[in-house]
Every structure is written in C-alpha cells, then in structure tokens.
C-alpha cells in the first residue's frame, strides 16, 4: 500500500516537472522565467534534503545550512565573474577596482578554472562542516546548544561576508555574469538546461538520501535522534556518524547553492542571514521532518507560496509565514506530509470519545 503510494507520487512529480512544465514552455504556454523560478526552488529542495538528514533524521538542529548553501553559490559566482572579467580584458572584477585592490586575492586564483571551482565549492563546505562538526560533536554539544552555536556561527560568517575587505563583494554580493562554460546565461535554452540539471540533481540527491536513510546507517542516525547515549553504549561512535551526516548535509546545501547561482545571477550575504537560515529549517518543518518527500515538498511549497504572496499582498507575507510556523509546530508536528495521519488520528480520537460516551 505504502510503496504503491510512493510510486504514484514519484510518477506524478516526474511527469509534472520533467514533462509537463518543459512541454508548457516549448509550446509557449509558460514563460522561460517560470521554468527558471522552479529550477531555483529545486536547488532549495536539495538543501532541504540535507536539513532533513541532519535535523529530521539525526535530530541535530543545524542553523548553518544557509551558510553552506552560500559557500556553493559564492564559489560559482567567483568563477563566473572571473570568466567575465577576463573576457572583457580586465584583470580585476569591478568591485575590487573600486576598493582599490591591485592584485587578485590568492583565494580567487583557483576559481579561474571551472573544474577547480566545482571541487572547491564542494571541498570548502565539507571541510568547514568537518572542522566545526568535530569541535562541536566531540564536546557533546547538542540540542539547543548546537542550534544556538551554529546560528551564531552563521551570523559571524554573514558579518564577515558583508565586509568589503574580505573581497567577496560586501553587501552587494557578486552579480553581473554573462556566460557559463561559454554559453550565455540569458538565453532560454541555457535556462531550460539549468532547470533540467537542477531537477535531475534533485532526483539524484533524493535517491542518495533515500538509500542513506534506508540503510543501517540511516537507522543509526534515527537511533541517535532517539537516544544518543544508548547508541554509544551499543558501541557506535556517535561522533563519527554525526560528523558524517553533517558533512553530507553541508555538501547537499552546497550543491543546491551551486545550481542556484547561475539561475538567479546574484548572490548576496542576505541569503545566509539569521532569517534565511531559520527559514530553511522551516521548509523542512512545514513539509514534514524525518520524511524526505516532506522536505522536498516543503521547500517547493513555501517558496511557491512566497512568490505568490509577495506579488499579491507584499505586506502580509511575514504574517503568513509567521502563522505557518506557529500552526505547524503547534498542531502539525509531522508537517504537510503528516497532515493526513494527524487528521486521521484526531478524527479517530474524537470518534473513540463519542463511542465511549454512548
């Protein structure tokens, strides 16, 4: 019964996004921007999968996923900007020239090459997650402490990225690219290609996460969530497992960020401020944590809602989001995916009560 439901859901998802949407564009019913917007949501969904792994399955609330997302985006952005700068014959990106820098900072150098950029975009978040995770997990910082420290970490990084002297574009971020691997970013077919790439990366990420959560590894993660001490007394090295899943989650966020950048054409530190990092967690909470489908649907739904609400009634978006937060946490702790279950449980509870009164 359950697997049948799942298969149906997968087929619906693939049909809608891989066939109907592109078909709509090719027949001219949908604009290329709509396609591109959904491509961006897929990137968020990839990051959301990572959050679901670390929070939903392992019970570690990491608030620095937004930062990992931005690390991926910034890496690609640096590459694209360098390509453009070199093509226009300049030696330095414009904003550096304005800041009176005369040589390219050393950490920009490797981003001349696309291959190195990809490697670094994955390596840096992974290394960062590894070091932070090692420090935090070794000293058994967990729960709220973990959430607050990772939040503070994101805040600190945000402040650093805001500065001009870190040579990452400051408040304005990095923007104004024209080509990726030689193809113009503004062309419709490139946008469609990026959309399809994002979709397939989402599917691949989903498949990987599915395999992870259904392996014994995934069961250990859930066991850590349930009773961390019991896991260590059963001779599992909890720190290793936490560290592994933290790094995987960081990688997923970074991949999302990497795909996100060419589709929006701008990355600013605003993507990783306190608000953004809590919001990312909220996608998963709304969709249903501990449930991979929930994470994906949550990310897509919240962002879709965001785009609708901000255009229809811009002032009330924060109200809507705020109420969604509160109501989800209070009444639907299993999120959107658990909606059916929750209602059924409530319904049967009331039925039980009425039958008892009879």
């Amino acid at each position: 019964m359950k697997t049948k439901n799942n298969t149906l859901l997968y087929i619906l998802f693939i049909t809608f996004f891989a066939i109907l949407l592109p078909a709509g564009y090719l027949t001219g019913l949908l604009s290329v921007n709509t396609i591109s917007v959904w491509g961006r949501y897929f990137c968020f969904a990839i990051a959301a999968l990572g959050i679901d792994l670390i929070w939903g399955y392992t019970g570690i609330l990491s608030m620095c996923q937004a930062f990992f997302f931005c690390l991926g985006s910034y890496g690609i952005a640096m590459h694209l900007l360098l390509k453009k700068t070199v093509a226009s014959g300049a030696t330095l990106p414009d904003f550096m020239a304005w800041n009176k820098i005369d040589t390219l900072p050393f950490f920009w150098q490797p981003f001349h090459s696309f291959g190195w950029s990809i490697v670094l975009c994955l390596l840096i978040p992974a290394a960062f997650a590894f070091i932070v995770g090692l420090v935090l997990f070794r000293s058994r910082i967990k729960g709220v402490y973990m959430a607050i420290i990772t939040q503070a970490l994101t805040l600190a990084m945000w402040l650093i990225f805001l500065r001009n002297e870190t040579n990452l574009g400051g408040t304005n971020g990095i923007t104004d690219f024209n080509t990726i691997l030689g193809y113009p970013l503004s062309s419709s077919s490139v946008k469609l290609a990026l959309y399809l790439l994002s979709l397939s990366m989402l599917c691949a990420a989903y498949y990987c996460c599915y395999r992870i959560t259904h392996s014994k590894f995934g069961k250990v993660l859930q066991a850590i969530r349930d009773s961390e001490s019991r896991v260590s007394y059963t001779a599992y090295k909890v720190t290793d497992y936490k560290l592994a899943v933290f790094v995987v989650a960081a990688l997923l966020a970074a991949v999302g960020g990497m795909l996100y950048l060419p589709q929006t054409g701008i990355i600013t530190p605003g993507r990783m401020d306190v608000k953004a990092s809590v919001e990312m967690v909220m996608w998963v909470a709304l969709g249903g944590r501990g449930n991979l489908k929930g994470a994906v649907i949550g990310a897509l739904l919240v962002n879709f809602l965001y785009s609708i609400c901000t255009s229809l009634f811009p002032d009330s978006w924060l109200f809507i989001l705020g109420f969604l937060f509160v109501i989800t946490v209070l009444y639907f702790d299993k999120g959107f995916m658990g909606l059916g279950d929750t209602i059924r449980k409530k319904f049967s509870a009331t039925r039980l009560k009425t039958s008892q009164t009879h």
Partner: protein, 251 residues
Amino acid sequence: MLLNVNNLSVSFGGVHALNLDRFSLRDKELRVIIGPNGAGKSTFLDIICGKTKADKGEITFNGKSILGKSEVKIAEAGIGRKFQKPSVFPGLTVYDNLLLAAKMKKDIFTSLFFKSTPALEEKIHEVAVKLSLTNVMYKPAGDLSHGQKQWLEIAIVVLQDPTLMLIDEPAAGMSDEETEKTGNLLLELSKSHSIIVIEHDMKFVEQIANELVTVLVRGKRLMEGTFAEVKNDQRVIDCYLGRTNAQLETL
C-alpha cells in the same frame, strides 16, 4: 579476575556519592549488588560504563584500565549496560533495535553498505524468542509496555554479546511471573557472561544470587558474602530498617 576496582571515589557537589575501596569480579560470575536508595549502586555502574567520570581510583577490565575511556571504547572492550529507566530507541521498530545492537563492525561504511545475513537473522530471532518479543517485532519500540521495554533493553545487551553485563533493576515494574522468567534468563546468561545485577526485590535476589552479594551503603562497601550471610547480618538489617525498607526483616 575480570574486573578489579581500587579506591574508586566520586562526589557530587561535596557529597560523596561513591567511595569504594575494593571490588573484584571473576570471569562468568553473577554478582548482585544491593543497598538502600542513594547507596551509589547506579553511580558505580555509571562509572564502569563511562557515563560518569570518577574523581580518582582505578578500574581494570581484562587487565586494561578503562577509567576515563569514552562510552564507545568501553562498550567495544566488552561491557554492556542496561539502565534503570529503560533506554531503547523508541522511534525504531523492535527488529531495528535488535539489529543495531547485534555484534558486528560498527563503523560508518559497514553500516552504509550493510546487508543482513541469515546467521544474523537467526541470532536476532533466537534472542527475540527468548525474551518474548517475536509478536511485537515490527512495532515501534516506543509503543511497548514498560515490561516489554525492559526485556527489549536486556535483548539489546544480550545481542551486543559483551563479556560483562551491567544490569540495573531488571525486575522493576514486572509481574512475579515475568520476574522469575527474567531471573532464569540471567542465570542462563551467567553461564557464558559475567554479570553485575543491581536489585531491590529480595525474592528476585534470592533466586539469582548463587554466589556473592555485595552490599553498598552511603557509597561504601558494607559487606560481601552469600545471600544467607548478608540476610542475617545485623548491620545490613539496620541499614535497611533505618531506611524503612523492611523487606530484609520479613525474609
């Protein structure tokens, strides 16, 4: 001797929770520790399994010092622990609980590419039968009754196959029938494992204490002897009476 303890002490905020001069355990011995509330029994087990850090002293297990090692290192060395309050994985099914406990390599990559084998399934099934868990095998452990959770935790420890089992109040919350069954199980396990049991239920203690019983009072070792010796010792009786626990007197 499998386990040797010397001059072990720990205090919480000035109160000496434990101050144990000497304690040793033979291989394949079943030792029962009794004592009134706050005698430091659970604290003693907590220190052995690495949950609590001792202030000073030494503990050797199999000739190696284990004091100050992490819980995982101690568990790997072959010590398994059942807690007073059942500690299982409520979100996982009983089967998954047992699978995770089963003795095997427990690093990340083994877990990631783990495939179950018939031998393992057989072993899990065998333990589940022994502890009457077969008909709840695919229920989430959180939905079990208190007694079932106790048994599940014992099953977890059994599947871990440790050299030394630390069992904290296994009979709490069980019916007489279940208690006796638990006792028989412990006796059977003691043929192949060393076991330390903490218990208050004197009937249960009488059932399983074929060898020595250690009495702890206010963190110190009051005496060690057979159940009959302990039962008739005036100091022990005084201690328990002082604590309004009249069980010993009635026996």
